[in-house]
Symmetry: C2
Subunit: 505 residues, 2 copies
């Protein structure tokens, strides 16, 4: 058997194990009875451990070495390069560190939950300090040139660095802050009260499924469930599941939440079938079965479908009638334009996950700058709340009443996800870049979107993004499809065009 | 670290892998989208393979050898003995045979499905012949003294043999056939038409959950779903799930089906917490995470709760009011006695899974005798349909119109479960033995059951059966609790008492 075939056999089994991890995770968040949490934790730990052992086994390393000397296709060469790089990275991480992180994660998360419930940062500070220390050790082990952040953000967004982020953030602030100023000054306020009428859960579910299918989500290879925090997760391209949550007195949560997760799902469902169970649908250093090439690229798809398509005027001009058919009484006195304006209301707020498109990135940027400073030691955990509150005041113009609505609001730091926040903003920026390129390359796509028809856009994304899985790093994927790497202009132009028109005083 | 601790660490991980196999299986049968079947098959195969590799690893065998030389408690000694025996058995099975079986199973099952759909035995015969050959090789590899069947039935029911079964069957036929004759002659026919009124699915689900909880099923560590074929499955004692199916025009299916699966679940939920993730909750040779000590013992619990309790007169005298509260219109003109008589209707029929308590074991005995003859070569696959039809005529007094309603009706032979059929009858026989012992040992149990209170019985079973998990083989468990091994008298006495009274002419 050729080396590459033996590599594929081994990686296929590792992917199977990681798909099982994903299923156990999905089940824990959607179906599992409450008494099972401890047992499930052990099962997840064992499966991850076995996957890691098999990744670093002599059999795989030997087969990989052999395969790299063989004649292979360009796609196979990319597959082997990726695997080699990922294994080199994994080998740099000492066993003790990974175990210490896994162990501290549950401690820190429990401390964070208590701290947030009591709005008491002191209950989380020691656990956060220990987490930071582990993250710093992780960054050292991975290695970096300029800033420890480079090592961590690279786990989620290959090729991204602190310096590139700072440049990107400068450009974004330069566009967003004046736009927000103009919105504030306009005095325009859309009527949003109808969004808070009584929307029965059953009809919300039907509507959510209708719109998920409309944009191309294949329910023959997926399903929609309910969870406290919505997510998308896949066990190969043939089983890609999404969840949502229903608020009976607020329609947008399930509607746009489902479009968001369905956007993630289109990416996973669209990967080339030939890549299934290979390194091109496995995040090897992250030990995660996923087809998307980076967190930011994945987020670019959820944001594109939720916001750039799902909150656009032509989309609702075409589909508001369908939405109203699910809620004939609640939406009787509303029209497409009124709905469009209501779901694009802009207003600075304290909580990231409730933020609108214009202010959202301000939330991300302040977090990223704080975690960079925590990591390089220029900010201490003791100074964190004040730094947070200052940044919120300076960018959003708000006072933070307590840490629960401030620096304790997100779970990320307690689970050790330092370096993942930027991917939300990268996703936003990238989403506009895809859309601009698709429209420019094929006028039929732009014309179809004007009629609310999304299939030509999906087909373009399928061809240029989805099918490639993890074969190309984010910048390379962007360059192939749009002619340049990550750049903020399309996104800023999108925001300016849309919100400048909506909030013209 | 002591040897036994290293054994436990290894077995715990194997149990985690097998619990993951169970979850993937549960999901495939209750939640999975249709497109995912092929990918799921690969994932299941990999997890089973990894579990088997780790079972036969040098690390585990070395730790086990060391542990057997250490000072251990009696329970630990039983744990090590079981594991040793199971590994010796596993080592006797050649790799090639296990793979050939796994491969042929899907071929044979597909052939059986086609054959049953067309009532065409010739479409299944070649696959069955090959399956028989593999089963014979399996029996040879395992080894036996008298009959190849001994090797196979022992996989499901340790200690059982063809000779013991033949003796048991003789006693059962001697009691059941005259009883059935009397029932036929009595001319008594209960009114059952009300069971086929319209019973909405939602109310059936509520009622099923009510009665499952009533007998002690803990929903904090379980849940009820829908599947084509009802089953119980566990991922440790803290997550034991059951399924049912609803026929809107036939109430007993979901009601008694749920009591049956909840009976299985009580066993799994009741195992000693100290046995979790050990060999005492792992079917090592079968590569299956399960706490019950044998298929027959497991079935004794489902049958006890479904039939001996759930189809008893005092149970419905106490709880028919509750049942009627779920179906006030459908059951308005029915009383407890009428319901009791309707759900204990006896009538020979062609299909095993639809059979009543009296005729059920006749279905099993004819299957077991046929599979013994197939295995020892005294019956050929070509002669099978005629042998089946003759046996149905002789014991049930019925003509078999076609093989779909005859020898093609059960999935078991196509999946290689030769030797598992007897466990259904063993379960029936054992169920009466438990109940007789519980009543005799504690008159308060008998008195409570007369009032429809089942908790004292459950507590006795918890103490005498459930908590022990797989620590004792079936006969040893029976002897400890009832003073004797498997014996048919209590079961025959139960049938005679119940049906003699119901069908007194």
């Amino acid at each position: 058997m050729r080396g590459i075939e033996r590599v594929r056999g081994r990686v296929g089994e590792i992917n199977d194990l990681l798909c099982a991890v994903n299923l156990l995770t999905w089940d824990a968040r959607t179906q599992m009875p409450p008494g099972a949490a401890a047992a499930r934790g052990k099962q997840l730990a064992t499966l991850s451990k076995v996957a890691r052992e098999r990744l670093l086994s002599r059999e795989l390393l030997g087969a990989l070495q052999e395969a790299r000397a063989e004649d292979v296709t360009p796609a196979e060469a990319d597959e082997l390069d990726q695997l080699t790089g990922a294994l080199e990275l994994l080998e740099r991480l000492p066993d003790g560190l990974i175990e210490a992180l896994a162990e501290h994660r549950s401690v820190a998360q429990a401390a964070w939950e208590r701290a947030r419930a009591d709005a008491d940062m002191s209950a989380f500070a020691p656990a956060l300090e220990r987490m930071l220390e582990l993250q710093q050790r992780m960054a050292q082990a991975i290695g970096y040139d300029d800033h420890p952040y480079d090592a961590l953000v690279g786990l989620y967004e290959p090729g991204m660095t602190a310096a590139r982020l700072q440049e990107l953030f400068g450009a974004l602030r330069g566009g967003i802050l004046p736009l927000l100023e103009g919105i504030r000054a306009s005095g325009v306020v859309a009527d949003r009260r109808f969004l808070q009428r009584h929307y029965p859960e059953g009809a919300q579910r039907d509507a959510a499924l209708h719109f998920a299918k409309l944009i191309g989500y294949d329910l023959g290879r997926g399903r929609l469930d309910v969870s406290a925090h919505p997510f998308e997760i896949s066990f190969t391209r043939d089983d890609v599941r999404i969840t949502t949550r229903f608020r009976r007195d607020f329609l947008p949560m399930s509607l746009f939440g489902t479009l968001h997760e369905a956007g993630h799902a289109l990416y996973e469902q669209g990967v080339d079938p030939a890549y299934v169970r290979t390194a091109l649908t496995t995040d090897v250093p992250g030990l995660y079965a996923v087809a998307g090439t980076s967190y930011g690229t994945h987020e670019s798809q959820s944001r594109l479908w939720e916001n750039l398509v799902g909150r656009s005027r032509p989309f609702w001009r075409a589909h508001f009638g369908a939405l109203r058919s699910f809620f004939p009484e609640q939406l009787a006195d509303v029209d497409a334009e009124g709905f469009y304006r209501a779901v694009n209301h802009v207003e600075p707020s304290l909580i990231r996950v409730e933020a609108d498109e214009v202010t959202y990135n301000l939330h991300i940027m302040l977090r990223v700058e704080i975690e960079m400073a925590l990591l390089d030691g220029s900010l201490s955990v003791r100074e964190l709340p004040a730094a947070w509150n200052d940044a919120v005041g300076a960018t959003l113009g708000l006072d933070v009443p307590d840490d629960a609505q401030g620096c304790l609001q997100d779970i990320h730091w307690s689970t050790g996800l330092f370096g993942s926040f930027p991917t939300y903003t990268i996703g936003n920026v990238m989403s506009a870049q895809w859309l601009e390129a698709a429209r420019a390359q094929d006028p039929a796509i732009a014309a179809a979107l004007e009629r609310g028809e999304t299939e030509p856009l999906r087909a373009w994304l399928q061809e240029n993004v989805y099918r490639h899985g993890r074969r190309f790093a984010p910048d390379a994927l962007l360059e192939r499809a749009t002619g340049r790497g990550l750049t903020p202009e399309p996104y800023l132009a999108y925001l300016d065009g849309k919100y400048g028109e909506l909030y013209r005083s």
